[in-house]
Amino acid sequence: MNPFNFEKCGLTRRTLLGGAALGGATILSAPAWAGMVDLPLYGGGGERETTTSFPQKGEMILQRTRPPLLETPWETFDKGVFTPNDQFYVRWHWAGIPDSVNVDTFRLKVHGNVQQELSLSLSELIQKLPKIELAAVNQCSGNSRGFFNPRVPGAQWANGAMGNAKWTGVRLRDLLDSAGVKAGSVQVRFAGLEKPVIDGGPHFMKSLSIDHARDDDVIVAYAMNGEALPFLNGFPLRLIVPGWYATYWVKMLADIEVLDKPDDNFWTKKAYLIPDTPGANIKPGEKDVKMVPINRMVPRSFFTNLVSGAHIKASASNEVRGIAFGGDCGVAKVETSIDGGGNWQVAQLGPDEGKFGFRRWSTAITPSKVGDGVSVKVRCTNTNGEVQSDTPNWNPSGFMRNVIEVIDLVAA
């Protein structure tokens, strides 16, 4: 139920733009209201439609149609540590997403403070540079924003603005070295094919320090889980910045610019800022806080096979399982507690598919009698020794939530 009583007027982008398909495979959007979900956001307001109207996507939770914000349905995360491409979440800043990408004429430019500018075709990039494969979690800076208390404006995500994939691509460093980075370079700036809808609006661009850009793990990916990237996840190329929030993972990457002075573009300098405090945590209303660009991710762990209110068996062993990730490093351990956090038991971990990816965890719980309520907490400690906190963080942008998750189960 929505108090705004929306009206539908049946526009598609094609009719708005008056354009025609440019060839290649065209998938027409069909109006499809697959169903509803009620995300358990803080204080309510989590009713959302689900949709199957987006190209290459199965059923997704609709947060916004244009530009698309699509959340991964939570059940997906119980099926495996790799999030399927057709249910991987989607988040765009501008609605100026191209209608088509021609893989024969597409070029990736490397320019700026370099010895030789490059303009690479996709086949050159794929065939002539060493291939790198790695698993990494891509998580929106504002994943879980809808759980903030007090609530804050922005996309009202539950926990599904994240996903883990195996990314295949080439090292950014190899591209930079091919162009020859000149002395005095400080940052590398990335831009995709996404365009502002309004003249003069800030083109979406993000930058990394030159040292970070030359890191072993930063890649330009042309494949996701062994297939071409879905259009809405950045086809044909996406920057992969393992361990860092998704805002840096520029989609439809087409332009790499080496800078000899710090990037002062809006998206790097003024957007996606966090309080420079532990856990990006401040008190609501706190003023004069030093702000810095969001950066590395922090550890998280989730329940995937049970939700609060679920019934489990009394006097029997019940599997409780989920996923965890270390943030900017691996998972050292996952622990659960059934006494409110007094005692913690180490959970079993599934196979290590790469330190930046999801890790399966599981444990068993045996309630003694019918009617027993069991409150279960889960926490992840990463390989840097960083552990999730029992106290939620708060900041006005709703970034970097990583509080310990709790579910309340009933023995029946």
């Binding site: 929505n2 539908k8 094609r14 027409l28 989590g46 987006f54 893989v103 065939q127 002539k128 020859g180």
Partner: protein, 110 residues
Amino acid sequence: MQRFAQSLTILCAVTLLTGTADAKDAFDLKSESFDLPTGDRTFIGAGADPVNNNCLTCHSAEMVMVQPKLSKANWEGIVKKMINVYKAPVPDEDVGPIIEYLSNHPTAGR
């Protein structure tokens, strides 16, 4: 020394870029073209016109409608950001009514 190491890397990489394709590394990408839905909802009720006329140019309505309860100052900040940062060409006379409409309508989240 560091400079020497970097030149070596450049040489190797340039060689890689000019080398011949290795069939086993071939990964086929096909040209794609898509039609994205645009969102077919409009704001209704008293005062909805300036919201429909301005806000829906850049984004569909759904996310606005599920914002938590925000103060008028919050909404004013959001509308001003759309205008000043994202360059939304909102006529001066529509700014106040848009803020008014958004602040007075109950939103879904609280």
